[in-house]
């Protein structure tokens, strides 16, 4: 295998092009270009799930996953902000169980902000954003405890989850909560499918904020993502074509591709 300690020229160009496509698409959308997003059932369910808690007059539980400040968790917090804004206008309480100490201040801050932007800053209760534990299973058990003592009507699991996913969602199901989950890592998705009412799969997770808020910046970014995906798809088709044409073993064409993709500077 090659060395990928630093990028090679091909990676620099590819990366630059990918970034440029996304940023240009964002800028176009901000200038007012209309963009289409298809229906994503798991995400459409978020409003229904909040509505259920409102009807039943019981709180919502939201878990932003196990990771600290990372891209995955920031996306989870973006979804959280949307859910809080929905819940705030309907006077529904939402409890956030946090696992990583570095994400705790960020979660608290974005929940407070979401209440403020929904026009109900007084609705924010600091004790509803709770640090539960940084230990995976203490977090799981603590969160199950919160869910059952507060008799939550709805629970959301968005972020990076590992084995605790099934502990959280199976107990939530036994409580009769309506559950919506999303995790970029495919490994826990089967268990969410078995226990939750709606599941957001793979890239739908990153499409969530665009889909929910329809903000131009985000929809633009989503369209840009699709174009980049098409570029990757084309690259794969090209690679498969070359491999088929020249044969699988150590051919010249394959070596060239290998140098470009699997060997850095």
């Amino acid at each position: 295998m090659g060395s990928l300690e630093h990028a090679n020229w091909f990676m620099r160009v590819l990366f630059g092009a990918m970034c440029a496509i996304i940023v240009v698409s964002v800028l176009l959308a901000q200038r007012g270009r209309q963009m289409f997003i298809r229906r994503i059932p798991g995400l459409s369910a978020i409003e229904e799930a909040v509505g259920r808690a409102t009807e039943m007059g019981r709180p919502i539980f939201f878990s932003p996953g196990l990771w600290g400040i990372s891209i995955v968790t920031l996306q989870a917090l973006a979804i959280l902000a949307y859910v809080v804004r929905l819940a705030a206008t309907r006077l529904t309480r939402i409890i956030v169980g946090v696992c990583d100490p570095t994400i705790f201040p960020v979660a608290e801050e974005s929940v407070r902000e979401a209440y403020a932007s929904a026009g109900r800053p007084e609705g924010f209760r600091p004790e509803d954003v709770r640090f539960v534990s940084d230990q995976q299973f203490a977090y799981a058990l603590g969160s199950v405890g919160i869910m059952s003592r507060e008799q939550v009507a709805t629970s959301f699991f968005f972020g990076m989850f590992f084995a605790e996913a099934l502990i959280l969602s199976e107990n939530g199901r036994a409580l009769g909560a309506l559950q919506v989950a999303g995790c970029p890592d495919p490994v826990q998705i089967p268990f969410f499918i078995a226990t939750c009412d709606y599941v957001v799969i793979g890239d739908e997770y990153y499409a969530a904020s665009a889909y929910l808020t329809r903000e131009p910046t985000l929809t633009g970014s989503l369209v840009g993502q699709d174009i980049v995906k098409a570029v990757v798809l084309a690259l794969i088709v090209l690679g498969v074509g070359l491999a088929t044409w020249y044969g699988g073993a150590a051919s010249e064409a394959r070596n060239v591709l290998f140098k470009l993709l699997a060997k850095g500077a």
Partner: protein, 284 residues
């Protein structure tokens, strides 16, 4: 819904209360642990890959066994680690234990290694050593690639690693012939692959709990990983390859019956579903 309506036996097959499932599962496992019915095992290609990777480490180079597991996954990772250590000693490969993600697990791995080392008369510091738990994941790996003795500092017992006989000549990542990650924690392998294997081309193999393994098949396919032990099954297969049948095999007996129990549950649920919907149709 129709909770108060009298249920047909078919409907009842679809709604076995959880408690019964839990109790029966526990009973099956306890029965097999006490009186196991052993069954034959054949090693898979992924397991053979790990074995071959250990065999093919050049003599001058060191193997790093990153034991990132603790009591919670010991039933799977313990037998895996033990079998891997057997393989190292049998092929006279020197190895260093370390841990990036399990501060409380490294002691368990140390006990294991010590026990196995006695069987081969291997001395600590010469044939094997334990670098202990090192905090900082990616930072440790980035630093270690450039300077191993400085980054590791002291071993598990607090002695400077640079003074261990087997560490003579070990400077940076090119002194390492193979990294074996044994873990139930997702994400650590990505550090090894992203920062060590992918960057410096150091061979990498792994042993995972069965739950994690599916996520890592792509790395096996892309040859970023030489081999992989999958759960207790991988442990049992490795035990077979090193000729030391042990705990892994006994655990497989309980596994077999627990799997059969779950399969039977799924079949019952579906039979109930099919018959209930058939009788429903007839009533209409």
């Amino acid at each position: 819904m129709m909770a108060s309506a009298p249920q047909s036996p078919w409907q009842r097959l679809q709604g076995i209360p959880r408690y019964y499932i839990y109790l029966l599962l526990a009973a099956v496992v306890v029965w097999q642990i006490l009186f196991p019915i052993r069954l034959p095992i054949t090693p898979s290609a992924a397991t053979k890959g790990v074995f071959a990777a250990i065999e093919s480490v050049p003599d001058g180079k060191l193997i790093i066994i990153s034991a990132d597991w603790d009591a919670s996954t010991q039933a799977e990772t313990g037998p895996q680690t033990e079998a891997i250590i057997h393989a190292c000693f049998q092929h006279h490969k020197r190895f260093a234990l370390m841990s990036l993600g399990a501060p409380m697990g490294i002691k368990l791995a140390d006990d294991l290694a010590r026990r196995v080392a006695e069987q081969y008369d291997a001395r600590y510091g010469v044939e094997w050593c334990n670098w202990g738990y090192k905090f900082g994941y990616d930072n440790v790996l980035i630093a270690m690639a450039k300077d191993i003795p400085k980054t590791i500092g002291t071993d598990f017992h607090g002695a400077p690693v640079a003074q261990l006989p087997m560490m003579a000549g070990v400077t940076e990542i090119s002194s390492i012939g193979l990294v074996i990650e044994i873990t139930g924690l997702a994400g650590i392998s990505e550090y090894w692959i992203g920062l060590i294997q992918g960057v410096y081309g150091t061979p990498f193999a792994s042993a995972y709990t069965a739950v994690m393994a599916p996520g890592y098949y792509p790395f096996l396919d892309s040859k970023q990983m030489k081999g992989m032990l999958v759960g207790a099954k991988g442990g049992a297969e490795m035990e077979l390859l090193v000729g030391r049948p042990g705990l892994g095999g006994a655990i497989m007996a309980a596994q077999s019956w627990a799997h059969l129990f779950i399969i039977a549950l799924i079949v019952l649920g579906n039979v109930g579903y099919l018959l209930a919907s058939a009788s429903e149709r007839r009533r209409r």
